[in-house]
Subunit: 283 residues, 3 copies
């Protein structure tokens, strides 16, 4: 199944509109090209609706949000919703500042997201904000900047409760929820993929989460009728490439080489490789 | 001849002012350093004229234009024109949105460009807009986001007509026109270089066009009396480095490694290598 | 001693708030992760104080400053000062435009910097501006864009006078002054480290200075009681990694590979390696 989802991306070559941060934007563009999609970045309010209209999906990432880009995110998102394009939200740093938590919440209220992807701290913060309709300081979790707090991570011990939480948030939000970490969870209201691909060193590169969100937007565009499974396929693909890239690391190579290897693995990954390498169970 | 143009860049070490997009800006800076130039990026209206005045050429790229950067592009361009500095326009995504097409047209009307470089779809869109003084939706061509539409590309079959078109647009605009694709065209009103360097995989990296525009700005600065030939030399150099970088790709290397190899090849390219490797004919 | 400073960064994993340029921001983030810290980039006035409050240090870099980011730099800096967090200023391009020189001066007057790091031309420009309280054109030195003018560099011949100048500027500003170049100077009012690590090829990569400033912010956060020595350790670490990365360069590798190797060397550098490789004398 994942086989086909990956090949559909290469066959279709979807055009993905990204409103994203300037830290990892180049890697996001190269990951989209590596997986067979085409990127376009556009954030001026004067063009975002038109750009979204010629694209196949929209990736909204709040990693370096500003007063100017928030209205552009809303305008592009509304247009994408109207056209029925998949839209993904990456709430980078939700919980690290009121502006980020509130903006993510505002986007969730104004738009219909196909997928929301973040680390455990970001998703926890956002879920509490959404379910209680509140972003007061007290509920802001243990986010460590843009990285997850170890205490929030999914482990074999808390997996059932994280899965239940993800399903509940998926039901309430109407979005597929993706929580990435040691074990990745991809859930809609009824079904959750628990994914054991990936490597701890991925957290030593900036932007592996951003890259995954961009790639997920491509998978959603090419597989519009299977958002849950397409998102799970993208998560497995990213994790698998992280494993394969780690296996290739030479003695003195570090996180810069690792970043390049991951993108290169995405470039070469084919459907069969993904089918064989994907490690998941359904709960 | 190209030999000398390349060596002049290394000898002079021109300082190039870039107002460019945040997707590929780092690669543009490293390409400028690789070819022997120095980059400076500055986009605030409060400093662009002064920065341009201490530089040797100006590179304007609309890849992530905003309401704030458009006036800065105009101000810097006017200053560069006044000082007689070479100015290059990279109309990224012209045709993908009204804002991009209109901004590119506005820049062309307000400024005198030494070179305009884009893919076939961008240049076609811009030429029609300029020649008809109109940007209505109907004339917007087949741009696929920031990538060229295959139908617009130069091939052996349509080469004569593309050359004629490029010469006509060069005459009307007063700029050297560079259309990059499978065959690259570099034309003024009377003479066109048809260049067969390059490799198809270059389109699998974000920003090879942006990098070429930045490098062209360096070649123009170091060879001010030969804009046509200097631009052709830069296009050959980029394509040749794309070929040589491809030849070096190891088994599992993909587009991330390829990006690095291209910049590294630019770093090592010397005049003799360019002279031997350049593949062009004049029409 | 440097041994311990490096290991403290890995032990603490400080969170560093960066308000920086979009040219080298990705490399700064990966360098912070490589040395054991975590980066967060945030520049909207609506969140910078809050982001700074959850971080351990603040890195202000004016490489692509805009009218919108200057107030954010001031607000974040005031908050960091109030909380007693280390703050570093990288006055990129001071001397290249009035806006940059004036902004750097404005930041120095409004904020208390732990460290100010730049190349010889930037620091010279800033020192004259600060000591004379003037930024008139006449005093602007020989900055070549964002690169140092060779005439300003530290050499064995002028070292004593540069050291005396750095100590004087350190005394007047209250900051540790770091002047990077062929010989790096790290000085407070009484003591100066003269560092002979590094390699000339580092100037052929964009952002080695920016990366060093970011890493210095991490060293300051993890060693709050020894700002002079912590900054010197960071400078030695960067230079040493530049040497080791150069030694690893293969035949056709250029500045792109070199950038990756430097970050990879930072990733693997440990306290013992730094202790053995650091080359400095105290004057």
């Amino acid at each position: 199944m994942f086989n086909e989802f990956l090949e559909n991306v290469r066959r279709m070559g979807p055009l993905v509109h990204n409103i994203t941060n300037y830290v990892t934007v180049n890697d996001c563009a190269n990951v989209l090209l590596a997986c067979g999609a085409s990127p376009i970045m556009a954030e001026d309010i004067g063009e975002v609706e038109e750009i979204t209209s010629i694209c196949n999906s929209l990736n909204i990432n709040i990693g370096t949000l500003t007063a100017a880009t928030i209205p552009a995110m809303l305008a592009a998102g509304k247009e994408a919703n109207q056209l029925g394009h998949p839209v993904i939200l990456d709430p980078v740093g939700a919980g690290a500042s009121k502006l980020r938590t509130e903006t993510a919440l505002q986007l969730m209220k104004a738009l219909r997201f196909t997928v929301i992807r973040g680390n455990a701290s970001e998703i926890k913060t956002l879920a509490i904000a959404f379910l209680t309709n509140s972003t007061m300081a007290g509920i802001v979790g243990g986010t460590k900047g843009v990285d997850a707090n170890a205490a929030d991570s999914s482990t074999e011990e808390n997996l059932d409760s994280v899965v239940a939480f993800a399903k509940k948030f998926a039901e309430a939000s109407g979005a597929v929820i993706v929580i990435t970490g040691a074990i990745d969870i991809v859930a809609d209201s009824e079904k959750a993929f628990c994914i054991r691909n990936g490597h701890p060193m991925m957290s030593r590169i900036t932007g592996t989460g951003c890259m995954l969100s961009a790639m997920t937007a491509a998978y959603l565009a090419a597989n519009p009728h299977h958002p849950l499974e397409a998102a799970a396929a993208a998560v497995c693909a990213m994790g698998l490439c992280g494993e394969q890239a780690f296996a290739r690391l030479a003695a003195r190579e570090g996180n810069a080489a690792y970043r390049n290897h991951i993108i290169d693995e995405i470039y070469h990954l084919n459907g069969k490789g993904l089918e064989v390498g994907a490690k998941y169970e359904v709960r």
